[in-house]
C-alpha cells in the first residue's frame, strides 16, 4: 500500500476541507449534446464526465439481435488529457472492466423487453479524472438514458465510499483514492433500495463494508435529488 506524505484527515477535515461523510460540489446538466438521443454532463468536484445515449435503434448485424429484448451496450473511456500523465487513447483493461460493470449497473432499470431486436448504446467520456470516475459516469449515463426518454424503473445513483486514515468516508477524490485503505464504488436504485453495482478493493471488516453501503445509500439521496433537478430543469426551459 502506498503511504501519503501528509495525513489525509486533519482535525476531522479532509485535505479539500470536507467532513468524512460530505460529498463534493455536484453539477448536473442534461441534453448537452444535440446529436445524441439523450445526453448529460456531470461534475463531482474536479471529476468531469459527459455521456451520450443513442437508441433504442435496430441492431446490426442481425445475428446479434435479441428477439426478446434490447441489448445494452456501454463504453466508458478516459480521454488522454484527463489525468496528469497522458494516457494512451482507446480502451485499456481497466476501462473494459468498468464498461462491463457499468452496463450491469444500468441494465436492471431499463425496460429492455419493450425494444426487441434493438440496441441502446451508452457512451461515457471522462474529461477530467479526480477519483470516483466510474460512479460519476453512472450518474451521467442514468441521466442520459432518462433524457433519451427510455422507460426506466428508477434512476441509478452512483456514489463511492471508502476508508482513509482509518476513517470511513464518502466520494473519494483522486488523491484519497490513491492512498485509500479501501475503495468501494456503489450504484443503486434509490426508490427500490437495490444495489446494482458493488465493487471493493482494499481491507475492511464485514461491519465496515455494511457501514459504507449504508452511508452511500443515505448520502445518495442528495445525488438523486440533483439528478431529478437536472431533468426537471430541461423541461422548465421548454415550458
Amino acid at each position: 500500500m502506498k503511504k501519503p506524505e501528509e495525513p489525509l484527515i486533519k482535525n476531522g477535515k479532509r485535505l479539500d476541507g470536507r467532513k468524512p461523510d460530505e460529498i463534493r460540489e455536484i453539477e448536473m446538466k442534461v441534453g448537452v449534446i444535440s446529436s445524441a438521443d439523450g445526453s448529460a454532463y456531470v461534475r463531482f468536484g474536479k471529476t468531469i464526465v459527459v455521456a451520450s445515449v443513442h437508441g433504442p435503434r435496430i441492431l446490426h448485424p442481425r445475428h446479434l439481435q435479441d428477439l426478446e429484448k434490447a441489448i445494452v451496450n456501454c463504453r466508458y473511456l478516459m480521454v488522454p488529457f484527463s489525468v496528469e500523465e497522458r494516457t494512451k487513447p482507446g480502451p485499456d483493461r481497466r476501462s473494459i472492466e468498468i464498461s462491463k460493470v457499468m452496463r450491469l449497473a444500468l441494465e436492471p432499470v431499463i425496460f429492455v423487453e419493450n425494444f426487441p431486436r434493438s440496441v441502446i448504446d451508452i457512451y461515457v467520456d471522462v474529461l477530467q479524472a479526480d477519483g470516483s470516475t466510474r460512479v460519476t459516469s453512472i450518474n451521467a449515463a442514468s441521466l442520459a438514458l432518462a433524457d433519451a426518454g427510455i422507460p426506466m424503473r428508477d434512476l441509478v445513483v452512483g456514489l463511492s465510499g471508502g476508508k482513509i486514515d482509518g476513517t470511513l468516508v464518502l466520494d473519494l477524490n483522486g488523491k484519497e483514492d490513491n492512498y485509500s485503505e479501501a475503495d468501494v464504488p456503489i450504484a443503486f436504485m434509490p426508490n427500490k433500495e437495490k444495489i446494482t453495482l458493488l465493487q471493493m478493493d482494499g481491507e475492511l471488516t464485514k461491519k465496515e463494508v455494511k457501514e459504507i453501503i449504508k452511508m452511500v445509500m443515505k448520502a445518495g439521496k442528495i445525488v438523486y435529488e440533483k439528478q431529478k433537478e437536472a431533468l426537471l430543469k430541461k423541461y422548465e426551459e421548454v415550458i
Binding site: M1, K2, R93, R94, I96, E97, S99, K100, V101, L104, E107, P108, N178, A182, V184, F188, M189, K192, E193, K194, I195, T196, L197, L198, Q199, M200, D201, G202, E203, L204, T205, K206, E208, V209, K210, I213, K214, M217
Partner: protein, 251 residues
C-alpha cells in the same frame, strides 16, 4: 427448458449436480506442476480446472512505489476450455484477472516491500498467469485459490546483475492468504460454487475476497439483477465461513 429446471431446483434448495446450496464441489490442489515456472498450481473444483503459473523477472518499479515489487495478473480463457470462449482477450478474461489481482493485492498476499533490489531502479516483478483448462463454472474461486497456491509455491531466483534461471535463493515472501468465494443468487436463494449451468441462469453473483483474519479484501458484484443490503450481508457471512473451508486446501 433446462434453464427453468435449474431455477426450479434451486428454489427447492436442490442442485443439478446433487449438492446442497452450501456445498462446494470436491477440490484438488497440486503445486509445482510446471517446472519452467518459478511457482505453479493446478486447482480443480469438480471438473473446473485452472492452472496458475508464476514467473519472476526484474524490472523498473512504478514511479509512485519506487521501493516495492510489482504484481501483474493476467487470465486467458482459451477456446480449449469451453465452446463459449473465443480466441483473443475477452471482457470476462479481463474481469477475472482484475478481480483476482484485487484480491491478492488488497489482501496483501505478497510482501511487495521485500521485493525491492535497488530503490527506484530494480525490483522483482511477479507475473501471475491464470490459464483456464476446463470451464465448468466458478473460475473466480478456482483462480484465486490457484494463484495463492502458486504464490506459496514460488521460489525466488538468484540475481547477480541478471536473473539466474534454475537457481534459487529462497521463497517468495507471503504475508496473507486471501481467497475469493463466489455466491450465486436465484430468487431469494443464495448458493456457493456455481456450476456452469447455474452461472448461466443466475440472476446475480457476487465474488468476495476474504483473508485468514476475516478481513474483506475484494468485492465484485456480477450479473444484472440488483442485490439488497440484506442479501449482501448474508453473502458476506457465507464468504467468511466458506473461505476457511477453501483455505484448508493450502499447505
Amino acid at each position: 427448458m433446462f434453464a427453468n429446471y435449474i431455477i426450479e431446483l434451486i428454489k427447492e434448495e436442490k442442485r443439478v449436480d446433487n449438492r446442497s446450496l452450501d456445498e462446494i464441489r470436491e477440490i484438488k490442489v497440486e503445486t509445482g506442476i510446471i517446472e519452467r515456472a518459478e511457482g505453479s498450481a493446478r486447482v480443480k473444483f469438480g471438473d473446473t480446472e485452472v492452472i496458475v503459473g508464476v514467473k519472476l523477472d526484474v524490472g523498473e518499479p512504478f514511479p509512485d512505489t519506487p521501493d516495492q515489487g510489482i504484481l501483474i495478473t493476467s487470465a486467458e480463457l482459451s477456446p480449449v476450455a469451453s465452446p463459449d470462449f473465443e480466441p483473443g482477450i475477452s471482457e470476462n478474461a479481463i474481469e477475472l484477472a482484475r478481480v483476482v489481482d484485487r484480491c491478492i493485492r488488497g489482501g496483501r498476499a505478497i510482501d511487495l516491500d521485500k521485493l525491492c533490489i535497488e530503490e527506484g531502479e530494480k525490483v522483482w516483478m511477479v507475473f501471475v498467469d491464470i490459464q483456464v483448462v476446463n470451464h465448468r463454472g466458478n473460475l473466480m474461486d478456482a483462480s484465486a485459490l490457484g494463484a495463492i497456491a502458486a504464490l506459496m509455491n514460488t521460489r525466488l531466483p538468484k540475481y547477480e546483475e541478471r536473473v539466474i534461471r534454475g537457481e534459487y535463493k529462497g521463497k517468495l515472501p507471503i504475508l496473507h492468504k486471501p481467497l475469493l468465494v463466489t455466491i450465486g443468487k436465484i430468487g431469494d436463494k443464495l448458493f456457493v460454487d456455481p456450476y456452469i449451468d447455474e452461472e448461466k441462469v443466475a440472476e446475480a453473483m457476487i465474488s468476495i475476497g476474504v483473508r485468514e483474519d476475516d478481513m474483506v479484501c475484494a468485492i465484485q458484484k456480477q450479473g444484472s439483477a440488483p442485490l439488497t443490503l440484506n442479501e449482501i450481508d448474508r453473502a458476506l457471512d457465507i464468504a467468511i465461513r466458506k473461505s476457511k473451508e477453501l483455505r484448508k486446501h493450502l499447505k
